[in-house]
Symmetry: D2
Subunit: 356 residues, 4 copies
């Protein structure tokens, strides 16, 4: 397998490093108009380089698209049309119609289209998803997620499109669906007001009925990557920065003596032990890239398949509209993506109509 | 000074304990219809007790109102009418008109009316306010606050009215003003959907132009009481649960080479030292109660005077309306409360027209 | 029951506060030569006061001795001789012979003698002890404890006698025995070299065979109160300052394929989940004082009976000698104190010969 | 520059990775009897490989020795004799005489001999050293260091020789000297008693007069790498695992009104702010390797020169003897290594007699 990586910025260079360490990858080709960025990669990891995708097409079997989001559609479409399997960094595209166009093109061309929702390959997120599906948390009631840091401001998208794909894809993955309605607030401070750098999202899921809140910021002194899941039986906190204990399960909740009486005075609070399951350390990006290569080999639909990418883009697009219109926005065509669950296996069974 | 405490629940019993430890308090009288709650107080702290305020009036000079919020107006009004000085727990009332009514009654009766915005008496919050006013943080750009825990569900108000007064009063106090517009989301999960138990607030201040986000939850596994203030020069985090270091100042920010070009590629990130100022340990409630007694003695307007209480209630009322109408709501009559600033002294100079 | 507290310093005033909150205590009498300290207590908590024990004897049934350690023997002996039950703050005395003298006197007088090893009444330490006794940790192999802070320097003892009683009494209580040999280092820095303010202890237990290391310091920037217990099956960390999670159990250890081959290359490391058991919040000092009152009522030997106090003093005395002689010192008369274990009950069965 | 790395275990493979990323390194040659370990390196980083040093000598100009400690002398001596510059992983050798032999051989051969005391290249440790030398901490009084984790047990040395070199080299580097006397305790638990896996060190420095305590353990549930430095004016904590804030300076201390009266009652405790200086993230190993290459190029003596390695080995040897004899052991030939201090530059001026 010969893999090309288009774009050698922050994420592209990570892909090059990971690909170069995999024995199943025959050659890693870097594609970037900037010679110095290409050279930095070829001197250590890559086996060849080209200034643009067109000239590289004959040297690669698959392509990782790591260019700025606004260029995803154009670059991915060129690769798909040339019959290459494609892994596109999140978000899949900058509009639902572009994202859906790529899904259709890939189905037509018979190639694998996968989106880089990295956290769907995180050991801790998969442990959490398994526990949710086994009922350990009871019914999920609400989710609170935060992706905060100082910078890195993007040139072509606001903070929503940069940081919220993580939280949205995690919520969709944990709940097996996509939100029906989206609310959003945004404000802009550190960059002269040119684009939102702080935003809040409210995702309303109908099936199951869950409200998720996601905060994103490019303007916070402390880095945060955290998801809190509140269930009727237990609560869980995923903290991506707590390397030694990324997942904690709290045996806590609220009980009521009488199902029909929810007045505060009949509620009691249950406090039990807190468990940090052991999560084997493994780099999600490596697992993601390996999964991409396996899907190419076996023809299976990837876990973070194109339609999952469409669902995240649809939520982001609705969020932008919610900010502009100061209202709650319906997500058009929200469908259930509920993956079949069999034990620890998170393979997704996609309905026929979604993949083609 | 003889002080009565009406309501011996969570906050009322704290007031009794604090009052009983102050030498300037001659007697502490507890007032509660529940005899066992009264007995629990009189056996250790209080000097007398009554089942209702009416019968206690002749035995007290001042009254602390710590009954459920819906009863604040009635109880406070009775005390004011009888010429007693009044400290009302937050929120001052459950409607702006009720809150304003109490302010007018107190002005008419010539008694002190103070609201229990405890954090305005916190050493760390005052240190933060001083630094903001001295310009250490540059221009404040945005504030993010969170008040989360598991329980305690209230019978007569939703989570906004229970927990958001803290964040709103802190923002108002730090910025010296009140929000012009309020957005809010709420959802309800743990109590059969009877009342919001998770909510998000967006406060838009015009003077200075700041956006503040406040999250409140009765349904979170971990207790959080935190305020992040982002300025153009520095950022600060107040964490009420970090007893040893409740305030941290981050010398971090974003610089741009060219004032007129805010494209992401011209932004640079500045990282400097983090400082935890030493904050002398002192209980805010004790300082608050002492301040109340001093204002009675000197006739000075309290820092958290009635008009401040009106401002918080107006924001809460707007928030409820924002949830109901799914829209951004103007706060009627938003006025500048900017206190005169003279060094470390946080005494507020209230314009004549506000106090009467 | 009428209880006198001799000494109204740091610990004495805590005892007065706790005693005054217990319904089974009829009156609390404070005894201190300093009138202002007595007044501070009587104005809020106490029911009477005396400048010295002699004049107070007829007004009390039991006495808490909270004077400086060097005075423990004299004060406790006077109370015992007068037939009063006695709770002595740790350390029981400043020499083994003095400590043993008090045990003998109490046995002779037929009164309860208890020593204030507070942590033996801590919920987390008792949960840890139960798990050790149930075999959850496997065989305990070593213990590491640290009691560090900045100050409070004592006038009459070094840091060992001030802070090490906590660690020693915890180790003795967890292991059900006392160390056979003691090593110690000490150094002095912050007080002109007059008395050790930093020290390290090595306690060698024979039954079970365990090495415990205890560090104590009056000269550390961060407060630490922590005990790590390493067993063959699991490890545990008690952190008295982590209020929300004072006890954490690590399912971690070392396995070897071959019992007889311990070369490093055959060892494997086992990593499993970390559990924070729920520990109900309750003040150890309150439980300790209640236990004292119960033992007086029932005649039972207290958990931290006098002989336990002797064992701690013997270790401290050996430690002083170890510092002076730079050698490992035998603890004379080290005996097994192994309490009978029956489920969650930590009641100690003391052999006949120990209590009299 | 062609660099060979002998030994491709944990540290050797790190050296290979770092060397392969440096532009000034022409080729990286891996030397290890195990073909699979060599292949793992050559497939990604290295430019050539040999099963033993002898056959590699003609292909390298400098050698990194990363074999087990017991083999350091033999391998380093062969490289030195062949005129190669040598960087030896810590500890330099397993006896003082072996370590001194290597220093003499290198002086004779005119090659650079450097020891891999990584932390002398840490940004945070150098910031701390600068502050100490500028007098910010006042006079250093005592140091407490801990290097704890679960595993990795070594086959040929005990935990002292494995983990204590870090703490000893840091203390020597911060204080500019070496200890005059060493005390040590050790015990063995997890490996059938074959070799100490828990140990405590006491280092007594005479110039300046400082006591340092170092704890090391292969048998602790939580990883710890921490150094606390207590000065008369300020205190500092270095925590290598706190990536965002590896160094914290506490403005805390003890004051006495009267220089000649150190009784506890005249001491007061000073509490001021805590500062986390900004430390630019940079990998110490990369800085160390670069320094080695620079010293080769310029002929300068390296910061962690051979004599520094001898000093650490001498302390370790004394510690082993202290454990065996249960006594405080003099370190023979302890000399002052006080480096000349000129601002931020930590270059060491070695007296003529030391390097030859």
């Amino acid at each position: 397998m010969r893999v090309g990586v288009v774009g050698c910025g922050y994420w592209g260079s990570k892909h090059v490093r990971v690909l170069s360490s995999l024995p199943e990858v025959e050659s890693v080709i870097v594609i970037d108009p900037d010679r110095s960025r290409r050279d930095a990669m070829t001197s250590r990891f890559a086996n060849g380089d080209f200034p643009d995708l067109t000239s590289a097409l004959s040297s690669v079997d698959a392509v990782v698209v790591a260019v700025p989001p606004k260029l995803h559609r154009e670059v991915a479409a060129e690769a798909i049309t040339a019959g290459k399997h494609v892994l596109v960094e999140k978000p899949l595209a900058t509009s639902t119609s572009d994202a859906r166009f790529l899904v259709e093109q890939a189905a037509h061309a018979g190639v694998v289209l996968m989106v880089g929702h990295t956290f769907e390959y995180s050991g801790a997120i998969n442990e959490l998803r398994t526990r949710i599906q086994l009922g350990d948390l009871g019914d999920v009631q609400y989710i609170d997620a935060a992706w905060l840091n100082l910078g890195l401001y993007q040139d072509d998208v606001n903070v929503l499109w940069d940081l919220a794909p993580h939280g949205i894809s995690i919520c969709n993955y944990l709940l097996g669906g996509q939100p029906a309605r989206v609310g959003a607030w945004g404000s802009s401070h550190g960059n002269g007001g040119t684009r939102e750098d702080v935003a809040m999202l409210q995702l309303q899921y109908d099936q199951p009925r869950v409200t998720a809140y996601i905060r994103v910021s490019w303007l916070d002194p402390a880095k945060v990557r955290r998801v809190t899941v509140v269930g009727t039986r237990r609560m869980a906190v995923f903290n991506d920065l707590a390397h030694a204990e990324p997942l904690r399960i709290y045996d806590r909740g609220i009980d009521t003596d009488n199902e029909s009486d929810y007045s505060a005075s009949t509620l009691t609070y249950r406090y039990g032990e807190i468990v940090s399951p052991y999560i084997a350390a493994s780099e999600p990006l490596t697992l993601e890239v390996r999964h991409f290569l396996e899907c190419i080999a076996t023809g299976a639909a990837p876990r973070s398949h194109g339609e999952n990418g469409v669902a995240v883009v649809a939520a982001l697009e609705a969020a932008d509209r919610a900010i502009a219109t100061r209202s709650l926005v319906d997500v058009p065509g929200a469908i259930s993506l509920l993956p079949a669950f069999n034990g620890n296996d998170a393979t997704v069974q996609i309905p026929e109509e979604m993949v083609g």
